[in-house]
Symmetry: C2
Subunit: 287 residues, 2 copies
């Protein structure tokens, strides 16, 4: 039985694995795909990188860094977690046992299954106002969403432009945090238009020229595994205590899946901190 299985190979999971490995802990990282960071065109607010770096490059560097230190990383999809003597993590191809699980599964920020969306993601379609709002000073923006998250993104984007339309994609507004007079389009979105970059949103009724689109429709992700073992959530976030442990003994969580500021720095810090508490926890583990 291994000491720790980390699920997720983004900033939180890899940061934790690096600390665990350096503390002589037997750790395995399992992850598939690159998560939301892959869509980041240019990150310029993560400390230490003079020039902007793409999300993909940062993810690749993290993985190379961990592997250089001897961390074993498996690219596979986790399809289930069971609690026996310790935990059993099932992947598409195998099974692994560990005393402790660290969930660092990020947040699947739902996209739209419409023409042009996938192709233009990262080319005018963004998932983070704090990260990318800066690039759209006095531009025409669309925010897609209908709840508190969308309202919060609009508030952040107002630092750069007042020209923002909210697209609910046919859904009812569920937030009371929009400013009075917020321009709202409730048409159904049927496509995103643009050659190399976003040019317009096409709905079932009209075409709306925009310079950028911010997607703000949060949905739950791999927190489902933890929930099935009894972990409690608040909204879409796993609840953790001050030691980064969920409400299930032995299952820890870090990064976007526990909520807070959706930034690389916060996930990296979460991972480092969680590792420290996992090391303490292992010292008292009966397994």
């Amino acid at each position: 039985m291994r000491d720790v299985i980390v699920i997720g190979k983004g900033p939180a999971g890899i940061s934790a694995a690096i600390y665990l490995k350096r503390a002589n802990i037997d750790v395995l990282v399992i992850g598939k795909g690159k998560g939301s960071l892959e869509k980041a065109e240019a990150i310029e607010n993560y400390y230490g990188f003079v020039e902007p770096i793409s999300g993909t490059e940062l993810l690749d560097r993290g993985i190379a860094q961990a592997e250089r230190l001897g961390v074993e990383i498996l690219s596979d999809e986790v399809v289930g977690i069971k609690q026996e003597e310790g935990f059993v993590v099932e992947t598409s191809n195998s099974k692994f046992e560990a005393k402790v699980i660290l969930l660092a599964t990020g947040m699947s920020r739902a996209g739209l299954k419409v023409k042009g969306f996938e192709a233009l993601s990262g080319k005018g379609i963004s998932f983070c106002a704090v990260c990318d709002g800066f690039f759209y000073r006095n531009k025409a923006l669309a925010v897609i969403g209908n709840g508190d998250y969308a309202a919060s993104e609009i508030a952040d984007l107002n630092n750069f432009t007042q020209n923002i339309k909210l697209f609910t994609n046919g859904l009812a507004i569920t937030t009371d945090k929009l400013a009075a007079g917020q321009v709202t389009v409730s048409d159904k979105i049927i496509g995103i238009k643009g050659q190399d970059r976003v040019e317009a949103i096409i709905t079932d009724k009209d075409e709306y020229p925009v310079d950028g689109i911010f997607v703000a429709m949060g949905t739950a992700s791999a927190t489902d595994f933890a929930k099935s073992l009894g972990a409690l959530t608040e909204g879409i976030n796993l609840i953790v205590n001050e030691n980064f442990m969920t409400t299930v003994d032995g299952i820890f969580a870090a990064g976007d899946c526990i909520g807070g500021f959706w930034q690389v720095s916060k996930s990296v810090s979460d991972g480092a901190n969680a590792s420290r508490h996992i090391i303490k926890y292992l010292k008292t583990s009966p397994l």
Copy 2:
């Protein structure tokens, strides 16, 4: 009057300044020296750097990154802060006004004023067990200190070696967290011996061969400025609320000076988070 003056140009201060600048906030960073990170020989646990990076290089990169984004950074020593209409920061050469102060002054980790100490810092003399313990597997180590901090460093180092002597440098032990049987030397230290690397600790009574020395004698630093304005501390750390504001309205703090995990990632994350709360605070500021 500026919006924000950040005091300190390490990871916490620069990370905050980057976020503030990108949110269109008028920010000035004032700092002198490079703080404790300068003494880090090789950092290999900060996410995103495949190869180890020295503390000095990381600090330089952070400053270059902020300057590329247009952040103004002044190398000067802050000699006082006064509260008037807003705050007045006095440096050795000038005065600056701001609505908000962010203290990111780090932690001055006291060294020893003995022969060889300065020259061998970073060459076998370390200030962080979590960072450097890894390099000393089964080696002979000395921890210099006499309180809880020293005990905590020894516990971390025990993951790598059992051969650890505690040197109190003539002081009485003030912690009850040492393991029974901890070898302790209470001689006065008079020098550190070594050519390119640490070889031994020389006391007033004897010479003790060691492969590495961990210094664990924390002392208060520029928190004194904040204290003089009424900010409360707990031990050597500034107390902040969940918004990173000290007990003085308008003075925020981030990084090592508020305690917690003394790691780059935590300071970077603190700075990013604090900036978010400072931006909110400025929106309601009457100044």
